[in-house]
Amino acid sequence: MNLIQIIFWFLSSFAVISAIMVLVSKSPVHSVLWLIAVFFAISGHYILLNAQFLAIVNLIVYAGAIMVLFLFVIMMMNLNKDTDPQKNIWIKLAGAVSGGCLLMVLVSLVKQATEINGKEAMLGKGDIGLIGTLGKVLFTDFVVPFEISSVLFLSAMVGAVVIGKKDSKLENN
């Protein structure tokens, strides 16, 4: 075992345990915190693959921005009421069965995929994940998707404002 393998196994087990804790935690705030831990582990994996920009953007956007949004939403919920919404054993069972089916499909898919069979990830090599290379590719080959993504952001903003501002508008009328 060399250093990279040790780090890999540590990060992987950390990610899996945190992910399980996201599901098991009773309190939604705990779940969010464990989810942040998962993002950290995944960023660690990105760094092992030398995808540095992706790693840091994963931290800034997912762990830093989207999780803050999640926390805001949870703080806006009324947690005094029954926090455990589903007590029905049959619904839990159905959820477990369908989740297990999805897992099976995913595992078999990964095992059968010929593209990744017998290939190894490039560890700490390659510079495709560096910010400079990424920028070159983004602004030469992928200009159109880049612009389209800005349209997507615009529509998301409109959606957020329409949903978020509905109440006050009704009051004014």
Binding site: N50, V68, M77, G135, K136, F139, T140, L154, K165
Partner: protein, 135 residues
């Protein structure tokens, strides 16, 4: 493996010191918290451990819904933050693009178009009063 850390700032090994620092800092802070918990006096009374509400009895707890404005700020932040992140790969390559006469204005126009959509969204948000704090 010799002194890889000092040669090139774009290899993954550069992040190892950050991991060391994280472990160091967490260890230090954990020790400090534990030590201060041990050294302090412990005289727990019921009144002392009540939630502080300026001397009056507290009513209910703080697990109640908050204003939707904060939520709106957060969701707009997520969207604008991703847009801002998109500028960084361009900014890093800006010098190389600018030095190439064929690429300079083409890429800059692409970015300007992106900024244009950004501004349209921004103006829409402001016009709709999503950032107006007093309703």
């Amino acid at each position: 493996m010799h002194s890889l850390l000092n040669i090139n700032s774009s290899t993954a090994i550069n992040y190892l010191p950050i991991a060391i620092q994280l472990i160091f800092v967490i260890g230090f802070i954990g020790t400090m918290l534990a030590l201060s918990a041990i050294t302090g006096p412990k005289r727990k009374t019921k009144d002392k451990l009540e939630t502080f509400a300026s001397g009056i009895e507290h009513h209910g707890d703080a697990r109640s819904p908050m204003a939707v404005k904060y939520f709106l700020i957060a969701i707009l932040f997520v969207l604008f933050d991703v847009e801002v992140i998109f500028f960084y790969p361009y900014a890093v390559n800006f010098r190389t693009f600018a030095a190439d006469p064929t690429m300079a204005w083409k890429t800059f126009m692409a970015v300007l178009m992106f900024v244009g959509f950004f501004v349209i969204g921004f103006v829409y948000v402001i016009k709709k009063g999503a950032l107006k704090w007093e309703d």
